[in-house]
Symmetry: C5
Subunit: 354 residues, 5 copies
Amino acid sequence: MSESLSYASEKSGLPPGSLVHVGEVHEYEQKITVIDYNKSSLNRRTIKTIEELLPYKTTDTITWVIIDGLKDVSIIDAIGQHFDIHGLVLEDILNTHQRPKFEEFDDYLYIVIKAISLAADKFNVEYEQVSLLLLNKFVFTFKEKPDALFEPLLTRLNNDKSHLRNLGTDYLAYVIMDSIVDEYFSLQDTFDELIETVEDELLTDPSAQTLNTIQKIKRELIFLRRSVSPMRELLASIQRCESPLIKDKTKRYFGDIYDHVIRVTEAMESYRDLISGMLDIYLSSVSNKMNETMKVLTVFASIFIPLTFIAGVYGMNFEYMPELKWRWGYPALWMIFIGVSVFLLRFFKKKDWL
Amino acid sequence: MSESLSYASEKSGLPPGSLVHVGEVHEYEQKITVIDYNKSSLNRRTIKTIEELLPYKTTDTITWVIIDGLKDVSIIDAIGQHFDIHGLVLEDILNTHQRPKFEEFDDYLYIVIKAISLAADKFNVEYEQVSLLLLNKFVFTFKEKPDALFEPLLTRLNNDKSHLRNLGTDYLAYVIMDSIVDEYFSLQDTFDELIETVEDELLTDPSAQTLNTIQKIKRELIFLRRSVSPMRELLASIQRCESPLIKDKTKRYFGDIYDHVIRVTEAMESYRDLISGMLDIYLSSVSNKMNETMKVLTVFASIFIPLTFIAGVYGMNFEYMPELKWRWGYPALWMIFIGVSVFLLRFFKKKDWL
Amino acid sequence: MSESLSYASEKSGLPPGSLVHVGEVHEYEQKITVIDYNKSSLNRRTIKTIEELLPYKTTDTITWVIIDGLKDVSIIDAIGQHFDIHGLVLEDILNTHQRPKFEEFDDYLYIVIKAISLAADKFNVEYEQVSLLLLNKFVFTFKEKPDALFEPLLTRLNNDKSHLRNLGTDYLAYVIMDSIVDEYFSLQDTFDELIETVEDELLTDPSAQTLNTIQKIKRELIFLRRSVSPMRELLASIQRCESPLIKDKTKRYFGDIYDHVIRVTEAMESYRDLISGMLDIYLSSVSNKMNETMKVLTVFASIFIPLTFIAGVYGMNFEYMPELKWRWGYPALWMIFIGVSVFLLRFFKKKDWL
Amino acid sequence: MSESLSYASEKSGLPPGSLVHVGEVHEYEQKITVIDYNKSSLNRRTIKTIEELLPYKTTDTITWVIIDGLKDVSIIDAIGQHFDIHGLVLEDILNTHQRPKFEEFDDYLYIVIKAISLAADKFNVEYEQVSLLLLNKFVFTFKEKPDALFEPLLTRLNNDKSHLRNLGTDYLAYVIMDSIVDEYFSLQDTFDELIETVEDELLTDPSAQTLNTIQKIKRELIFLRRSVSPMRELLASIQRCESPLIKDKTKRYFGDIYDHVIRVTEAMESYRDLISGMLDIYLSSVSNKMNETMKVLTVFASIFIPLTFIAGVYGMNFEYMPELKWRWGYPALWMIFIGVSVFLLRFFKKKDWL
Amino acid sequence: MSESLSYASEKSGLPPGSLVHVGEVHEYEQKITVIDYNKSSLNRRTIKTIEELLPYKTTDTITWVIIDGLKDVSIIDAIGQHFDIHGLVLEDILNTHQRPKFEEFDDYLYIVIKAISLAADKFNVEYEQVSLLLLNKFVFTFKEKPDALFEPLLTRLNNDKSHLRNLGTDYLAYVIMDSIVDEYFSLQDTFDELIETVEDELLTDPSAQTLNTIQKIKRELIFLRRSVSPMRELLASIQRCESPLIKDKTKRYFGDIYDHVIRVTEAMESYRDLISGMLDIYLSSVSNKMNETMKVLTVFASIFIPLTFIAGVYGMNFEYMPELKWRWGYPALWMIFIGVSVFLLRFFKKKDWL
């Protein structure tokens, strides 16, 4: 079942500001990874409590904290206290039903986006909510579960010649978002392939399965749009934002992600249009195929109906039916049978009914 | 019958400003509950006349007045006089066909929203109009009928450690609205379940009942949208409003409700899209099932038609029909009958008509 | 025939500014009623010529002039001259194909709206164009025909305790517009009833008549939208307008009409959505009913077809057909006939084809 | 073939600024008519070369130059040189595939609109592009072909009491545009009639011809919208324009045309909605008629099928069939035949299948 | 396969700023052509390395550099270094999945548009991405493959009387874009022809091929819109842009392209509407044709069914069937056969079923 179709009301009834994890529960151990780096050095370790982060507050390095899993509410709570994060933000981090959004605070920025992954063998989009807190010297990323989403970035960071090592937290945030949005293009490719397959099937051999696939694509597009289209607004807000946390130079990079999101959004729109056309084609081709069958069967029946009538005539018991006495009456009748069949077949063919 | 489909014109013909209750009449006793609180103390009692409220005007505490039921117009009238409320606002409070809206006056703010509840066993959305007057030290809430809508809030207020006890009327208004909007998520869950059920039915066994459910969901979505979508504009207005009655700090909380409303609205849009696809699937699958039946029956008939013809041939009374005299003619003909049937069955099968 | 579908081009070819009555001609006598009032006195009389109005120009009272019927162009012309009204406005007053609009001039405001009435027994919306000239001490209203549209207002005005008697021409204009917009809610009620009836018919016994009603509602909605939706813009303009002719205090009243218009407009949108769903339901239920009939008939035929074949077999004239000689052959065959029928009936029933 | 569907690329490949006539070529002689007037005098003559216009440059009169036909590019070129018109404007005048637009230059304004005419006997909209250059003392109008489009205006100009004679080029431009837009209402009337006819046909006797008419209306509406809807923007631009060439007083007149255009546009939208409903009605009524036929034929066949079976039974050759020996067997069977038919007819009738 | 449906994710996973060619790889040799001109002289040559361009930096002439093919990333890289181009721009140049866009930098402007070409014999739109860097004295154009796209421009440049030779890089950029947009009109013509053909086919003889063409047009329109509609925004941005690189005088020329793009966009919208109507017509006409066939066959069968029944009656073996003994019974029955057929034929004809 799609993530978007569940648990939305779990928290309803609780006071606002209550820290409760709302969303699918992943039975993973929660993990906190800290990557502390500057131009010359990089340090990666796993910590148990948020208090271990406090020493980094006084250093000049950039500290990226990755929290995998949202089960342990106390971690989020501790971050809130030590880094002075607004209660509603903490609540939103824990609720994985957020729509992508960007919120500006005095000392930090809060970004929510949806990472997308695709099971290789089956067409099944999985969404993971990634929350991002961007502070002056810290970047916190919150993920629903431990996965390899950020591995390529970590590899890149390890390389001390990387551009990334010289720049601030805003550029790190950009790189994180860019890597997530890049995954959307993979999804687009999968849609492309799928749609092409369906188009071929429609022309050659449409089946109920084809209809199912069409419906599935339509459904996924509906949910996908809900995750992707708010990104547009989000990135426009980042570009407009006047917080000193995002440098003007970095804004052009966010503009690049903005372009990518628009391209994906427009592709989604095209798919929608293509798909809607396909449903019509499917319905018409299924009904055509059905009609063809019925037509052939009806023609088939129509040929035997007059023959049966003729046979019926000569099965009558009138005393005076001269034909019955004729020597060649029976074979002649067979000639008539064949003649009528051939005539009707030709007639139907000419009328293009066969 | 849906509340939205009734009584709209009841008052037409009356002069503007006439205080008349327009809407479904609920035969409940009207009840006025007063909750007067500050950080240290909370006092809850039921009063009979609005005049009993006047002493609270001079205290420093926050006074929340809950009016259950709109039958007694004189209560509304008295509030209007003692708290200097505009005539049109009083009129709007009494008319339960309002669309959600926000109006700013010098000394008070007026908010109308729709509370939603759902009968547990049946899919039947019930709307209740909640009007909210937000003054400096007073909050008035007007409900159509006495129900447990605010009970969780009252429980929370009772707790003197609650955040709520320290903050002003604007935060109280936020908490009230938040609890109403939270109910929308329950509704969303119900829709989710319903749609999933319908989708399963469509794939396994679509019936006229399925069509009815689809139509019912569609219908409820139409009415729901009328109640939910103006909330977006309403909350945006609250955030933009410059009245000192709403503190800047509280605006971020209203922003949180705004996010919730957008999420619900987008979910509604998705349901609409899903539902419209379903209608097509339903129509196509019903027609497919029908066609399958017709095809099988036609094939069935088509096999017997030539056999009947052959039987007719040997029922003819020609004098010279050598086959009739043959010793094994009759059994041979049975062979032919069986042979023709088998051949046609295979042929139809091969053609994929069976 | 709907008023909106006629005479649009009557005047085409004439120079702009020519005063010609364009629209349906009503064969009524034209009537000019003058209501002159202030807080303490009210005077109502019928006049013949516009010149009789001139003395009122110098009094302090408010003068409401109601012109019923537009046949006599000279009346309009005289108003134009004596009250200095722009030629295009006079032209627009005489052309009853206007869309609702608001125009601001230095000394007066011009408002066009559509009054709606409904023949009680039949569903037939009738539109009447009402033009309104709002001057400092005068209000002119132009109606297409004499009817009781303003009677309730006149009754109210007669009451010297009425709010209305204390306020200016802007409040009078508000009251006039409010009474017209209130009628829209009656129409909404009629639509509600009609749609409910149609929905019931669709579920129980859809007929060609149902389709006609659906189409009729759709059609009326299309024309209604043309009259109602520009009201939104019109009222927004009034609220934004900075003419001293409309006092700030009165604007909130116009805001109330604005809310009403939005409610009606949204209801119309809901009807549209409901109606479009209904057409699909109708088509599918008619086709379902048809298909059911065809299926039963086909099943019926399919049972007799094999029986006829068997009867045909024993009608054959082979010399050696041992069954024909059997003592109980004929009754046995009847057993077979019955057996085959029962078997097929059960089979079809099991397959859910019957 | 519709003008809008041709020649769009004729000029592609040429450098911008090349003066070439793009569009349908009309084989008429090109004609230049000059009307020079002021309050007291009017002078109308036909000239051969643009140079003959130069003396008017120094007079105080208003000079209206009508160019019928665009074949002779040199005329346009000469106007460009003598009156200092931008090359792109000259190019646009010669390309009759323009969409209506308004362009502001320092010394002149450029307006393109589409005149519409309708062949009286057949429903066939013809478009003619009219370009208008509005200078301080000159108005140039360029038409595709010589026709009577401006005759009513010329008659009006001849009358020296006409308002028109006292006012400037901006008012002349208004009058020209007004007369063109007035023609749109004639078109609207034709659509009204056509749609009414089609609606009647749909209810009484829908045929393939009806479908063709529906499709034709739809098609014409699509092209019409392309010519009419940019007019809205065009007229709004004129009203906003701050060029001294258009006096504030005249702007209200352009506002009047704006209203007309909106009315026409809204009517077009209504037609679209009506037409789309009609297509559904047509499809459903054709399919209903078809189904009715099939149903009656199937019922007809279903009555004979059991009769034929019974006749087949008594055609069997069993030796022991007691009924065959009965004296009244044959007439009794006829009773049975009739009885079965009547019973089935009644049954089918009761089931509402007949 | 359409270019728009491929390779979108090729680069996903790479760090931003990596120069990799993303898109269809064309196996052509990369070619760099330099056209250096001023009013009096023009010099055209082919170079191998970007370094050969450096001397032009100090001259006063305008230098147009055409790069055909994007295989060799080092060329792009060199341009980036020598002309100080932003890394993201270089990346975008190499990625041929861009949507048309305009980006403003301090020292240069970056424009991406899509050139369209059409295989002459088959309806197959080919897209080529053209990137344009506009500097003070340089214009770089990047094309995916070597083709004759710019040949007409080069010819025009060779002519030293050309307007083009006197003007700056902004005018050159305009001319390049204009020549690309002009090609859109050719495409429009092809669509016109195609749609006309399809409309004729629909009226005379709709086939599955017609449906395919309709679907193909629809599909191409979807992709085309993705390439054309962002052009509108792009050209509006250019007109609004305040960079000194684009002179005010030249902006009116870009306004001309803007008009062209709007015309093409509106034509596309019309095609969409036309096409969607066609699909309905197709479905209805195919189903009509099918139904006609079925109706004729059913009528045909319905005539023989009663005849067969009558023949069956006289095939019964009752001992007392007086008709069988009649001398003229058999010929009389033939009269009845013929009479019944004629009667039914006439009846069916009258009922309009034949």
